[in-house]
Amino acid sequence: MVVIEKIPGAELIRKVPGGGFFLTTSESFLKWGKASSLWPMTFGLACCAIEMIATGAPRFDIDRFGAGVFRASPRQCDVMVVAGTICVKMNDCIRRLYAQMPEPKYVIALGNCAISGGIFYYDTYSVTKGTESLGIKVDVFIPGCPPRPENLLFGLMKLQEKIRREKDAAR
């Protein structure tokens, strides 16, 4: 409700009969817009990136969900799909990319490597143990090594659901 509250005159609208309803509807409308248009970043790290492209490819077609616009510039993205193993050398780069994204931004950790290091958890000196250890809050975890494209779509729908249930449309 917060974004609408910020608009001057929101209180006035609320006093008008049906105004509250109007505010709620517009709020859910904004959330609907946000959820239906999640543009991911063209950001493939490792194996899972191939499955991410496969999800965009004709067979699974992520564009059906409105999320097919892969933008290369972080400034125009809504969701960062961390697809693959994060290595120590890559840490700063991922943090910077995340910082460059405009709010509201979401993060999907695709694959076990992005969740925890996965198969590369033990005996390796150069793999970061997951996205969260970089201090980036992850919204949806998608386990798998790599996850099936269906699983990524499922995760995307979960993210949409999360956005629709958010308290603050402007976050």
Partner: protein, 145 residues
């Protein structure tokens, strides 16, 4: 001059051929699987989440030994020669779905289920005790609005 003209004609023709390919597929039916409404059947040997039939397990630790990522952890009780499972920890975060545990299991107590829709909001849900397989129900009956 003749070569130039030939190049021009060949070049233009090649561009038209390219356009022909794309317009051909424009009118062909799509190959898309409409995922949430349509789902493809998983093959028999599909390697989804690891499942356990606790009654079959003889606590031989083969699976733990073979696992390349140490995602399985077993504890057991020893009751005069007979071992019984106490916990069977399965850490999905580390699993690489290689299927080695299933292949190595002498009694096929470990199975690879065909559950593949396993996204979660909370990471803690990924570390589970396989003796309590009910947790999988959340993923097997997934329906999305």
């Amino acid at each position: 001059m003749i070569k130039l003209a030939k190049n021009f004609v060949v070049g233009t023709w090649s561009l038209i051929k390219g356009l022909a390919v794309t317009i051909k597929y424009f009118f062909r039916p799509t190959v898309t699987l409409q995922y949430p409404t349509e789902k493809q059947p998983m093959s028999e040997c599909y390697r989804g989440l690891v499942g356990l039939r606790p009654e079959k397990c003889i606590v031989c630790y083969q699976c733990v030994k073979i696992c390349p990522t140490a995602c399985l952890a077993i504890t057991h009780k020893q009751e005069d020669k007979k071992k019984t499972l106490e916990t069977f920890k399965y850490n999905m975060e580390l699993c690489c779905f290689c299927g080695l545990c299933q292949q190595v299991c002498p009694t096929s107590a470990i199975i690879m289920t065909n559950i593949y829709e396993i996204s979660v909001y909370d990471r803690k849900k990924l570390d589970i005790n396989l003796l309590d397989m009910k947790k999988y129900d959340e993923w097997t009956n997934t329906t999305i609005k």
